[in-house]
Symmetry: C2
Subunit: 402 residues, 2 copies
């Protein structure tokens, strides 16, 4: 039997207990050990909960109990969660987490501590909720040089964009509805400004490179400026609009990492990823393209991923599972220097000017009076941006092409 402690009895933490309970026979068989939830750490009490008697308020009870082998950190944040994770690992207790913020910020350090204490720090649930992606990167695509990872990594923004496309609605309107339905937080900034996706691509790109990608250095742009009109033109031109988190090797020593809304062709596999679903599109030098698709969030999918990590720890007790993620900083490319095509939406009066500024592109008509759309040929971001800003009030929006 292996004793487990769950830190934080919120949505994911209670989901972890539910998954272990619901699938007990199967989970124990796969773990090759019986798993027993011995403690639940929370500031609150849960007198009505069948697991209420396991609740403790002092983390030291867990840290000092040598019979606890695996800790699930489902608290979130980088304060107490960081302290408790360190302390658990230093005592040789493996830690499984859904806390992407902590993994993005302290991943390599915590992995190192785990290695030094012969235990594991696993974080399958930190990216893509229930989609297995961390383990495929670490265990399956091992014969590949992974050249690029492109993900739809945030369910809230994908839900909003899908609904905007389907209903021709504007951002504010759909966000409000999403908040009412509980698909978006009351303070939606982390999602709609791309910060959540940014942390996730920092984790994935670090695993792709084996070096550390600092999430704070990743160029990040959210979806708040996307309008119903943009979708009209995108559709007309055979595209949809998705918030993509990208990491792409550039030559031998640099990596382009960014989060931004992109126009993506309607027949690209990522274009069909709608609503709260997430997907990760991986390009390897031998395998070519592959994609991993599923529910990127939600209590049980996320908890299922945490429990899969618990099972992995149980199978590998006393053995460190290989994970290449050094503390060495990866070199990120200057986004301003990358070349790509852009979509612009401008006043009709600026049509001529745009075609002269970006020759060789194509005009998109979407039946909206007084304005036109235009898709440029490949142009350096910095150059594009300067010319775009020169259009001043005549330009309504611009979106990158994938």
């Amino acid at each position: 039997m292996i004793n487990i402690a769950v830190l934080g009895y919120g949505t994911v933490g209670s989901g972890v207990v539910e998954v272990i309970e619901t699938n007990k026979g199967m989970v124990d068989k796969k773990a090759t050990h019986e798993l027993n939830v011995k403690y639940i750490l929370d500031l609150r009490d849960f007198p009505e909960d069948p697991y209420g008697d396991r609740v403790v308020h002092d983390v030291n009870i867990i840290l000092n109990d040598d019979t606890v082998g695996i800790v699930c950190e489902t608290m979130g944040g980088v304060g107490a969660a960081y302290q408790f994770t360190r302390q658990a690992l230093e005592r040789g207790k493996s830690v499984c987490t859904s806390n992407k913020e902590l993994v993005a910020k302290h991943g390599p350090e915590l992995l190192k501590i785990a290695g030094e204490h012969n235990c594991n720090y696993l974080f399958e649930a930190s990216v893509g909720g229930g989609i297995p992606i961390i383990r495929p990167l670490n265990y399956s695509l091992t014969a590949e040089r992974i050249d690029a990872i492109t993900g739809i990594l945030n369910g809230t923004t994908n839900y909003i964009l899908s609904k905007m496309e389907r209903e021709g609605a504007d951002f504010d309107e759909v966000l409000k509805e999403a908040q009412e339905k509980g698909y978006a937080e009351r303070n939606p900034e982390a999602d709609v400004e791309g910060h959540d996706a940014c942390r996730k691509i920092a984790i994935l790109s670090s695993l792709m490179l084996g070096k550390n990608v600092d999430s704070e250095k990743i160029f990040t742009e959210g979806i708040t400026k996307i309008t119903a009109a943009d979708f009209l033109y995108a559709k007309e031109a055979g595209y949809t609009i998705k918030l993509l988190a990208r990491a792409k090797r550039q030559g031998d020593s640099e990596t382009l990492a960014m989060v931004a809304p992109f126009l993506i062709p309607k027949d690209h596999p990522l274009a069909m990823v709608n609503d709260v679903f997430n997907a990760v599109f991986v390009t390897g030098n031998m395998l070519g393209d592959s994609m991993y698709y599923g529910r990127g969030a939600g209590k049980l999918p996320t908890a299922s991923a945490v429990v899969s990590d618990v099972i992995d720890c149980a199978r590998h007790q006393g053995k460190v599972i290989t994970c290449f993620w050094d503390e060495e900083e990866a070199r990120l490319s200057d986004v301003g220097e990358t070349k790509r095509a852009f979509f612009l939406r401008v006043k009709s009066s600026a049509g001529q000017k745009v075609q002269e500024a970006f020759p060789g592109g194509r005009v998109i008509e979407a039946g909206k009076g007084g304005e036109i759309g235009y898709i440029t040929g490949p142009v350096k971001e910095r150059e594009f941006q300067a010319k775009y800003e020169a259009l001043g009030g005549e330009a309504f929006n611009r979106i990158r092409l994938f």
Copy 2:
């Protein structure tokens, strides 16, 4: 350093050597050992090949060399491949294979022998080519009760169906073209009659259940009867046609397993899997739906999967990797007793008869003179089949709905 032997220097076998060579630094790092291709077994000689000096013609050289730790079986077939695999495992050499026929036929027996000799029998490349699916099922979705697996598992048939849809062409015509391009074999039966997909779903469903699913007991129907006209109606009704390999738990003790062409809604993630791409759609009781997509065949994708197995063996030397696939036979449901909707295409003169036989369905018009399409409500296969056969020459075709 770990010495490797490759059995069979054909497409996949030479791909294995190419992957190990091209990605050498990365592969060795991930394997935590240097990998050295010491022998290549083939009946032919390859004097021009840079690895020509490793070629041997007698398997005993490999079997009797105690320095060989891992064998890649890329020969195919169930004769010599079976013998050599057994002999290697009995000597404690791990075997990694792309041979779905052998895995489907002798998987649990070979896994047992491997376990008894403290080595591994791995077969990631046997299903879905380069798509990681075996390892996600065994390592990642471990907290799930997997309720259903639906795959597009054969690249040749998917290429043919995609082309028929896109070009409005008929089966024979597209098959001929595919043969000329090398996408279909000169003897295409294993692909177009569904036998290849059948072996693959036998493997996946065995892993889903932990019991053995006998591929010879799986209901299998190919795509040779699908016509351009069927696609017209499918499109009109919002569907496409795919050859799906399905395994689905029915209650606690039975599993429905089958391979057949299905009408699948255009907005289903599997509907966008086109050309030679494959995908596996997995439904778990906690995670809900997830999908794994990529190149289902081809030299380098398949070889990459074999090498990922080699790396796994290298990481786990002397340790048996958990795989639940017992020799106990799984109980398969009677396909005739399952209920589903059907699409039929009949002479206009039989329209009234069809609507009376299957009340509550809907007529599909596709602008073809002299015939109509009809989609029934849910009906037992056996009952449907009897009524369909009674239509005799008035019926042109029938296809199941997913």
